[in-house]
Structure formats: structure tokens, C-alpha cells
């Protein structure tokens, strides 16, 4: 099934919150080989002015990937994941992401194009920290209540055609 061009411009509702864990930051930092003490040592991070350990620059992909699954696993979108190649990725940090952050993410499908056997999908995840008064076990309903904008993650997937 070809890529569904009608998905271009689609915006999803905020998703169920992701709570950023201290051990998850340490585990991810170890996996990419980032030994900077601000990822591992709470006292060091506090010395730099942060409330807890700071996520590595690409950590937000863990959250974005979970949000992007709403599109990738949607059969109507027509994305054959076995033929997907990652084309580009960008993280814009509006403020540092730290352990303890409770993040809800709004997924946008910015672009769907298909040319000469190669299809490309560009998604944009807007990560927001939940306001303190909102619970983190349910997706927030009102997108306008989200004002603590933490990061923007943009990703392009290329889907190779059957004979490309």
C-alpha cells in the first residue's frame, strides 16, 4: 500500500505523559557513551543549576519515537516499517530536559512526499512539560494548557519502494 498523502498536515491530540526517569537518563547516556557528569551525578547537575540530572542532546528521541508510533503503526498511513530508512533528525531544545519532567507530546505530520520510488514523511513532535496541577497518568485534554515548551523533534523517514 502506498504512502497516504492525505496524512500531510495532520495534528494529533497530546499523548499520555512520559515521565523522565533519572535511571533512564543514565542508561541512555551510557548507551551513547556520554560520560559527562551532569547526565549521571545529581550533585553535579545541581551545581550547574538544574533540579536533577540533564538528558543528553538526543534523549528526546525516546519520547518522540513513542509518539511517532501513532503514525508509523497506523495501517492507513501506509508506512512499511521494514523498508524505512532514517533520512534526517533535528532536536531544538527550548529548555534543558531533566529527570522528573513529565512530558506530553503533540505529533504533527509536516510533509508527505512521493517521487520516483522513494517516499518521505516528515514528522514534528512538540514536547511540553505538564502543568503541576495535571495528573501524569492520563493524556491532557486541553492543548492550550501546555505552556512549558521543552523541545521540538523533527524527523524524516524515507521509505524505499519495493524495487528501490
Amino acid at each position: 500500500m502506498p504512502l497516504n498523502a492525505a496524512y500531510a498536515g495532520r495534528q494529533y491530540a497530546p499523548d499520555a505523559p512520559y515521565v523522565v526517569g533519572r535511571e533512564k537518563i543514565r542508561e541512555f547516556a551510557d548507551a551513547v557513551g556520554s560520560t559527562h557528569p551532569a547526565h549521571h551525578d545529581v550533585a553535579h547537575a545541581r551545581g550547574l543549576g538544574y533540579p536533577d540530572v540533564v538528558a543528553p542532546p538526543t534523549f528526546a528521541v525516546v519520547i518522540a519515537q513513542r509518539t511517532e508510533a501513532q503514525l508509523i503503526t497506523d495501517p492507513d498511513a501506509g508506512i512499511d516499517f521494514s523498508r524505512v530508512v532514517h533520512a534526517d533528525e533535528r532536536f531544538t531544545h527550548h529548555r534543558p530536559l531533566v529527570a522528573g519532567d513529565r512530558i506530553t507530546t503533540v505529533l504533527h505530520v509536516d510533509r508527505v512526499i512521493e517521487r520516483s520510488g522513494l517516499a518521505m514523511v516528515t514528522t514534528r513532535c512538540e514536547l511540553y512539560a505538564l502543568p503541576a496541577e495535571l495528573p501524569d497518568d492520563v493524556a491532557p485534554v486541553d492543548v492550550t494548557s501546555l505552556t512549558d515548551h521543552v523541545a521540538t523533534v523533527t524527523s524524516t523517514l524515507a521509505i524505499r519502494g519495493a524495487d528501490a
Binding site: A31, A38, P57, Q65, H86, D88, T92
Partner: protein, 145 residues
């Protein structure tokens, strides 16, 4: 360690080099830590069947690993404002042994603080190669200085 100062930098200046060594165990570790369980990063038969030369590294592992030297140089991971790249070639990872990605970080642009910007920004450009081939293009890190 003292932090770099914008005024001490010049465009074109090399700020460091390092090597990232990737083996299959590292890919499995990144798969678990990131949640990206795509079998092209750990299952040789699957990777070959979908037309790849073999198991390849997660582009996001390469992207995450090559930036670590910039974080160490700037001294504060919270100073990274923006980081982008295009993935221009896969990094095949052999079943035995490892593969090396060579990284060179260079000052690409400088934006001093002014009336509109409260802090300066340095753009650090990363050159990442594997066996002489560029695996990332337009790999740019904007850091607050």
C-alpha cells in the same frame, strides 16, 4: 575545567577529534536503552532480506555518540540549544570485532550576544566518517556560550 569563551573562538577552528567504536553489543544496548527494536540493527538475516549490506548501526546511536565530545567541550549538556543531522550513509557493524566512526568537531559559525540575544551562540560542525566515507551530513550543534 574552564568553559570555552565565544571571544576566544574563530570560525574554522578545530575544537577536538574523537573516535566512536561500535560493535554488535553496543547496538543491542542502544536498542534497549532507546526502545528502537528494529531488527535491522541486530538480526543479520532480516537486514540482508530487506536489502541492506548487513546489520547497520542506528542512525540515532551514531548521532548521539558523535556529539558527546561537544558536550564535554562546552561543559554543560543544557547549553546544547539545537542539534541536527542528515544520515548520508549507513554504518555497517560486523558480527565480530567493531567499526570505528572518526569524528572531527570544528567551529562553523559564531553569533555574539547583542541587544536582541542575551547570550552568544557557537555553531559546531561535526564531520563523521567511517572507512573514509561521510556517514552524517550537515551535522550541526548550536551551543550557548
Amino acid at each position: 575545567m574552564s568553559r570555552p569563551e565565544l571571544a576566544d573562538l574563530v570560525v574554522g577552528q578545530q575544537i577536538g577529534t574523537h573516535e566512536v567504536r561500535l560493535d554488535r553489543a553496543r547496538l543491542v544496548r542502544y536498542a534497549g536503552a532507546s526502545g528502537d527494536l528494529n531488527p535491522i540493527h541486530w538480526d543479520e538475516a532480516f537486514a540482508t532480506r530487506v536489502g541492506l549490506p548487513g546489520v547497520i548501526a542506528h542512525g540515532m546511536l551514531t548521532m548521539g555518540a558523535v556529539v558527546t565530545s561537544v558536550v564535554d567541550w562546552v561543559g554543560d549538556p543544557g547549553a546544547v540549544l539545537d542539534y541536527q543531522t542528515r544520515f548520508s550513509a549507513p554504518v555497517p557493524v560486523p558480527a565480530a570485532g567493531d567499526v570505528t566512526v572518526a569524528v572531527t568537531a570544528t567551529v562553523g559559525a559564531l553569533e555574539p550576544a547583542d541587544d536582541e540575544a542575551a547570550h552568544g551562540v557557537a555553531r559546531i560542525d561535526l564531520l563523521a566518517t567511517c572507512d573514509g566515507q561521510r556517514v552524517l551530513t550537515k551535522a550541526q550543534v548550536r551551543v550557548r556560550l
